[in-house]
Amino acid sequence: MPPSFQTLATATVLLLLFTASAVSCASLPPEDGIRIVSAEKRIDLTGPIVKVYLTLKVENVAAASDAYQVLLAFTPTEVQHLAIVKATRAEGKRKKKTYVPLAVEASDLATSAPNGANLYSVLLDAPLKPGETITLEVLYVLTHSLEPFPAEISQSESQLVYYRDSAVLLSPYHVLEQVTYIKMPSNRIESFTRVDPTSRAGTEVKYGTYSNQAPNSYLPILVHYENNRPFAVVEELVRKVEISHWGNVQITEHYKLRHGGARHKGVFSRLEYQSRPSISGASSFKNLLARLPPRVHSVYYRDEIGNISTSHLRIGSHKSELEIEPRYPLFGGWHCTFTIGYGLPLQDFLFESDDGRRFINLTFGCPLLDTVVDDLTIKVVLPEGSKNPQPIVPFATEKHLETSYSYLDVVGRTTVVLKKNNVVGEHNVPFQVHYEFNPIFMLAEPMMLISAVLLFFVACIAYLHMDLSIGKSS
């Protein structure tokens, strides 16, 4: 199927724009005198999430100055869907390769890039001296970048999607040699833009090798292919972590799930779904896998109208796996909501730091595999009486404090709220919340109950020993 006329037109316009900009920008001096000797871009389109692996061989060609950072460029649409950028510096040859993680941050040089392209800078751990080369491995993840086309499919059709990108690497630097590989889940590729040299081998399309690309060059390509992997999108996830110093960490997760693929239209026939599972509803999914910490206990899986009985839990020594099935198979555009809750032993997560403060070490992100979380809220409910909470998260999140009330609280529990949009599996990294806690507060509630019962008995005794009648009964 050829790409529609309109998309072709837009692509052309974009192409023109970018070539124009490339020309206009050519006059600008290359940043820091850096040049990309060779670039390899591998785009993984097999899942619902687009993962792009860049291998950049960077050389500092400047005469005297050291380079402290390497810039990466993204188009505005990419930035909107960009979930995470990770960079590492590769050292050594082949077998002995080691990777040193590098910090990446959004660059404020964005204004200097043409057409609203955004720049991210990879901060090098050691300055790159003139004449030296370095190999960078960059991974970035794009969500919601696969557009289903046709946008509505019936039960028996499989799902086709568009992916848009550039054949050449968008970079503020001069690129000497570059190649792009696009990997697709199946052999069924409806169409792809040809930018010679282009070749296809099985499930992979190769663009390149292109040499001597000017900075900021962009050659739009469009790939139309079959992708029946579950497009599970968690529209909203609220994770609530309640810490009890009596030995338990209780985690409750409220999910609002959607099938983000091509919308289902018309009839849903259970008969066909059951009798021909391979053809019928190929893009639908009926189960999800959640990876939970080891030693998890009292797991539940329910929604607002009660238990959902279709789940399996496998507890291992390194991780636990919870396989859950929503109440009904999810077809394109269908929604469902559910709640997962589980308890964890406190000693696995709570530690005392050297200064006497305590910190809890938890995993950020969503335990469901291969899902995008549009809107993640993590609430860490500290025990009543804890003070000065201080979250430490390795990436930027929105943070604020709340007070929540639970079983017999009087002053309320301090709650640290962390919010982040566009979260993917790569965000599942540990984060910490440090706080001060005086163990005497653990006894507050038992004492309260004991005194209440005591008062009750005192009141009973008093009532039995007092004569409350007004008149004297004979």
């Binding site: 009798s275 109208i305 238990n307 279709t310 109440r327 009904y328 929604h335 009330y405 017999l408 009087v410």
Partner: protein, 785 residues
Amino acid sequence: MAEPEASSAAANGGGRLRNAFGGVLSAFTLLLIGVLAFSIRLFSVIKYESVIHEFDPYFNFRVTQFLSKNGIYEFWNWFDDRTWYPLGRVIGGTVYPGLTLTAGTIWWLLNSLNIPLSVETVCVFTAPIFSAYASWATYLLTKEAKGTGAGLMAAAILAMVPSYISRSVAGSYDNEAVAIFALIFTFYLYVKTLNTGSLFYATLNALSYFYMVCSWGGYTFIINLIPMHVLLCIVTGRYSSRLYIAYAPLVILGTLLAALVPVVGFNAVMTSEHFASFLVFIILHVVALVYYIKGLLTPRLFKVAMTLVISVGLAVCFAVVAVLVALVASSPTKGWSGRSLSLLDPTYASKYIPIIASVSEHQPPTWPSYFMDINVLAFLIPAGIISCFLPLSDASSFMVLYLVTAVYFSGVMVRLMLVLAPAACILSGIALSEVFGVLTRSLKFQLSKLFDDSSSAVPASGDSSSESSTNSTKSENRNEKSETAPKEKPSKKNRKKEKEMAESVPVKPNKKEKRLLVLPFELSVMGILLLIVLGGFYVVHCVWAAAEAYSAPSIVLTSRSRDGLHVFDDFREAYAWLSHNTDVDDKVASWWDYGYQTTAMANRTVIVDNNTWNNTHIATVGTAMSSPEKAAWEIFNSLDVKYVLVVFGGLVGYPSDDINKFLWMVRIGGGVFPHIKEPDYLRDGQYRVDAQATPTMLNCLMYKLCYYRFVETDGKGFDRVRGYEIGKKHFKLTHFEEVFTTHHWMVRIYKLKPQKNRVRGKLKKLKSGAKSSSTLAAGRKNPWQ
């Protein structure tokens, strides 16, 4: 009359320490009974989950959710547009608010203590909590009649009576759950007032009655039973000022309070259900006047006055009665609601109101259901009645009257078995405690004769059985003394009953014991053992009933097969699908059984629901279901329906599905729209959907929606509920499309196809269609012709 008090007073005198010990012991026993009542009802939570059960509880749950979210004032004014589309329903004015307010208050209280329980959890556990209260109320009531021992026994029996368990397992969040407590407690306060003559208790009684009115429509049972008892007391010459205090405030205060409940309102003074109480109120005053005058005048003067008053009074009475009768007769239903009428005339409902008759719990019970629901109590009741007559007090006569009326009502409607259960428990408790009293007393007597000849008056040990035996010895002795006087009193009717009861087996030795007072050693040991076996049997049965028979929530079904437990969660699957994947304002049509669940779980607007207040509306849905596809489409389309939901059990063998209920849809539909005729759906009077079925049956919408593409599952179309192959196997739907079917096919949801553009060539066809539909919808215009 005053025996229980006297005996308890005597017990009070007999040693402070022992008394305190007994008090603590019985308090502790009561606590345990409460725990028992609560925990035996948790089987449903343990075996299934903490979830609201069945149909009506879902409505109550939804109302409670609304109450907890919006507050009490919004609740009174709540007009629910999610149901009975397009009519809607005024919830605040048509619901008995007692249960909702109770659970709402509990929830509010807990949350103000920062205990974050959800509304659902509170609702699930309301019924078990109130059954604990009910067993305590039973203790109090029986104690008023026959003392502490009988009270504890009755409370323990009530805590686990299957009949009550069936309505109050955790999750069964229904009016009856709190109403039974209110019923027993009202009776207790009435009897307490009757025994003490205290205005304080009389006022409490009115308040408790008010709570009962708030909780359940069954309050009319109270307001008819108490007048009956008052009348009985008057007739048997037991009028006293205590009776007056027990009754008069209840009628005045109770009626005023009852009128405050929106759902009752002026019905409290205008419907025939309440007239008996007013009539007795008048009679009571007349009798009070007579007694007053009798005290003033000499016997001779009194006789003269009597004849005068009676002649005048009779005339006035006749006039009043005539006016009343005329008033009542002028209304078509004689001022009685359909349900009450069917109580008096059991055949009324099935004759005139199919919608009442279609509910299985409105059917008369079968004999096995008595055994299932009250088990061995059925055999103990006669003994209890007899011991109520030995001696007959106001309280014990009330018990007997309560039992007799409850037995009648339970025979009419299986649902009212619930009202019988407390009466059965109380009388069995009395019987068991009396029998135990006699047996242990004779045992002790024999033992003491064996060891030393001197009869020790004071028991050595403080253990409970001996203690209760001494208590009952004392009361027994007292009874013996005063037996002669009240023995003459029971009317002929009561004597006859007594004779009847005496014929039943377990009573005979009991009667003998009364005379002899002491039984041989072996016989008493045997008797005690047998009673323990009987009790054990009862307990085993109750636990079985609670665990197996009554704890299934019915929205999730399980079946045990060789490869483990299999769960059928299709209802919730369908409701969850509706709730997440349809537009929030879409209307869903289904048979009324699923109305409450659809509004509560799927949050979608329904056409009819379990509050069957509008028969025509239900008949419209019934007609649509029993019409051919096109006519049905027109009816549904005129009601703005977008989805049609049917319940189909043929694939997995779920018997209470829509095909089995279908005949009621035909009947109810045919009751309003005469073109639907029941014989059209029956072949030789037999209801079937196999090859023998009538074409009308095989072409109606219900058949088509249930069996659409069913034949493709196994190639034959074998229906596992009906046990045969279906009649029409291959057909297509033209006006509906399948949008969702659950995993086990138990719920199927269809969408109405949008109207087609008018095609010229089809004009002829349309015309013929118009003809049939004009006869069909009785003047309803088809919008697109």
